[in-house]
Every structure is written in C-alpha cells, then in structure tokens.
C-alpha cells in the first residue's frame, strides 16, 4: 500500500534532467528521480552538518564531575 504522500513532483530544467539521465546509465539507480533523491539527501546532510554545544556551562561542569568520578577524565 503506497502512502499518499510518499512521492511528489518537482520541476528541474530538462537540460539538467538529461545530464542526470546520462549519468545514471552506469550506476545502480533505476531512474533520474531515484538519483536526484539520492543527491538531494546527500546535499542536505552536508548542509545540516555541525552543531552547537547542547549543554549550558553549568550542566557541562556537572557532567565533567561525573566523568572524573568514573575515571574517564583526570
């Protein structure tokens, strides 16, 4: 049973479509859509990489204390 919002349509220039079509010939991708999905997810992962610290200074100090008590930090 296919989910009703499993897929949607986006438009890309037909020249780009042809380039992608030419590139998938020697890959395991079955369609330009599958290849474009792969590339977009790869790009998103790069854009989303990296993050700020999630703990406040005080919380971090408490964590360090536990790590010292357990012998993980000197």
């Amino acid at each position: 049973m296919a989910d009703k919002h499993e897929f949607t349509t986006i438009t890309i220039p037909s020249t780009l479509y042809k380039r992608l079509e030419g590139m998938i010939a020697e890959t395991e991708f079955e369609s330009v859509s599958a290849y474009a999905t792969h590339l977009l997810r790869e790009a998103l992962a790069r854009l989303e990489a990296g993050s700020e610290d999630v703990l406040s200074e005080e919380e971090e100090e408490q964590v360090k204390e536990r790590l010292r008590a357990l012998g993980y930090l000197d």
Partner: protein, 381 residues
C-alpha cells in the same frame, strides 16, 4: 561536534520537582508494567541515544520505517521502536491520555499516549528481518509480542537499574568527554563479543585515521551461546589497559537488546553512535547477523541507500593471522597461501574456550584469554 541524528539530542529525563510530581502522579494513572528490554528502550529514548525519537513510534512513523527505512519526516530510521500490548491491555488505555509505565514495580516513565494501532506481524518480520522463519530470534520474539502498538512520547522518572553503571554514559556525557579529550573525529565500534586479535586490528586500523575510538559493547538480551555481558566488558577493559593508549580509547556500554536485523540494524547501530558523538562507524562482516539469514556484506551495501546518514561507515571485510607475515593481515595485504593463515573464526574460539582451552596468542591476547578462562562458563545459557 557532529550534529545529533535528526538535529536535536533528545532529553526527556525528568529532574527535581517535576520528577517527584510525576512519580507521585504515576500511581494514580492507568498502569502498564514493562519488561527489561522495553525499560531500556524508554531510557534510551529519554537520554537521547535514540534521537530524534521522543517516544514509541506512532502508526505513520512505524509504517514509514517498515516500508522506506525512514521516519515520516524522511530522517533515516531502520528499526521500529515500538511498545506492544495485548488487546485486553490496550482496552484499558485511552488515546490522548497519560499512562504510567512501571518496571519491576517502580514508576519508570509517563507515556503521553497518542495512538493505539494494530500491525501486521508477517509484514514486520519480512521487512525488518528479511524472513518469517521462527528460527530467527527476532521473528521468534515478534511472535510473542502483543497485537496492539502504543505510540506516544515518554518522560523518564526512574531509570532501570544497571549492573554496569560504572561504564554507562549518555550521549550528553560522551559528547562532553570527546570534547574534553580534544577528539574532533571519533570512530564507534559496536561489539557483542570478546575481543580477538582480528577485532583489535580493525579497531587500530580505524583509529589510525581518527582522533579516538569509542568501544561500545552492547549489553542486554542476547541469544544462547553469546558471551555474557560481564565477560565482554572485563575482556575489553583488560585489552584497553594493556594494548591501547589511554588518551585514544574510551570504553562505555550501550544497554539495548540485539535485534539480529542484520543490515537494518547496522544502520541503527550507526545512528546510535552518531548520537554519542561519533563521526565514523566500523561495519564488519555480517554485522548484527545471525546464522545464515543475511549475506555477510549486505550490511555494507545498505549504507549506499543513506547518503544523508551523517556518519561515515568504515567497512571491514575478513582478517586472518598470517604466519609468514607474522601478524594480522587481509586479502589486500597478504600474498601468502591459505595454509599460512589462521582464521579468526568465532566458532573455533568459542569451541576452544568452552572446552577450557586457551586460544593461542596469534588469535587472542593472553590477558584477554585469562580473563575469559576465569569465568568457567563465559556463555549465556
């Protein structure tokens, strides 16, 4: 520091007054007693190990995970984290109301029940385990599960007791630890075995490309014949003490059951290590496999489907000890013949240990073998 999976490290641990109030309230709510495996899932959700999950999967996420190996919001997720109950139990609970999860008679968590739904066990088995054979431990467990799943966020009140608290760190803690150690790149190593020289070779090969290694044995329900948790831990502790640089290796446990879901579980294992702060993850031969249910390298190939996983898999194939090379080698590095090679067969090592024999030093470090020998029977019965 690497971004947690899905962008946010989940923290659903109640503290201080909020915890006290929730604990008191729990006694007045509809109550569900859960076993050890589910209690560990609750804790892992609350402490961010399963980020971005904030609770047990609802129907939309569950179906999406089964069919596309992603949550409904497209984030990669391969193993359904679900709370099953019998039909009779499900009838006691109402959607959009809170229930109290108890573990060993103590309030474990409040669950904000969003939905109850039925599921198809055969489809679940086929999709997750790639088989419906009852000889598969995951399928056998599934057969005994309740017919209804409960979905909804949880808030942890009291974590389940751990026998190995000394080695238990949350992702918040490992992230601080890696930062303090100055590690920018960290490779995660999943294990459910005692270390032999082949494991050590893989770990050190990976370590030569990154700042540190996070050795993260999986502690929890395993199948008969697997090594006991305490044996694995003690064996690794002695290995690290004697053969690793203190500043480059960290040993901490991950308390969750083995699902034996092969390729899907390899992705799940990578996701958890990403949440702990690892940038790389070692994937071995037949990772999370059992018997002959999976192609030994299916767990490598599946990573091609996840360009957005956000953690770099390091694939290792088969290693052996070569008498002529005088060390551990692989097909790419050793030109010698089969008769010069000693394979790191888990079955052979287990057989030797179960017969009270000490594996030779080309298979296992003497210190490690000594620790295992002390246990008499080191295996789960």
């Amino acid at each position: 520091m690497i971004r947690p999976h899905g962008g946010k490290l989940v923290d659903r641990v109640l503290r201080g007054k909020a915890r006290e109030e929730a604990e008191e309230r729990a006694y007045g709510l509809p109550r569900l007693e859960v076993g050890d495996d589910l209690a560990r899932d609750v804790e892992n959700i609350a402490r961010g190990v399963f980020s971005p999950l904030e609770g047990f999967l609802g129907r939309e996420d569950y179906q999406s995970v089964l069919r596309s190996m992603r949550l409904a919001n497209d984030v990669p997720w391969t193993i359904p984290i679900v709370l099953d109950v019998s039909e009779e139990e499900a009838d006691r609970f109402r959607e959009r109301e809170d229930i109290a999860l108890f573990h060993r008679g103590k309030p474990l968590a409040i669950m904000h029940l969003e939905e109850k739904y039925r599921y198809d066990k055969e489809e679940h088995a086929r999709k997750v385990f790639g088989t419906t054979s009852r000889a598969h431990p995951g399928v056998a467990k599934l057969e005994g599960m309740g017919k209804v799943l409960l979905g909804g966020k949880i808030d942890l009140i009291n974590p389940p007791q751990s026998r190995f608290g000394r080695y238990k760190l949350s992702p918040f803690e490992t992230r601080v630890l890696f930062k303090e150690k100055g590690w920018r790149t960290v490779v995660g190593f999943q294990t459910r075995n005692v270390p032999h020289l082949g494991h050590e070779y893989v770990q050190k090969t990976a370590l030569s490309f990154v700042d540190g290694i996070f050795i993260n044995p999986l502690i929890g329900r395993k199948k008969r014949g697997d090594f006991k948790d305490e044996v694995i831990l003690e064996a690794y502790a002695i290995l690290i003490e004697n053969y690793f640089l203190k500043d480059n290796a960290v040993l901490a446990i991950l308390e969750t059951e083995m699902r034996y879901a092969g390729p899907r579980e390899a992705i799940f294992h990578a996701i958890m290590r990403k949440n702990f702060g690892c940038t790389h993850f070692i994937v071995g031969r037949d990772h999370a496999g059992v018997g002959d249910f999976y192609d030994p390298f299916a767990a490598h190939r599946i990573f091609e489907e996840f360009p957005d996983l956000g953690i770099v898999p390091l694939f290792f194939r088969t290693f052996f000890y070569c008498r002529k090379c005088g060390g551990v080698a692989n097909e790419k590095t050793c030109p010698h013949s089969e008769e010069d090679r000693v394979n790191f067969s888990g079955t052979t090592i287990r057989k030797m240990l179960s017969q009270g024999e000490v594996p030779p030093p080309e298979l296992m470090r003497p210190e490690v073998a000594e620790v295992i020998a002390r246990y008499g029977n080191p295996f789960v019965e």
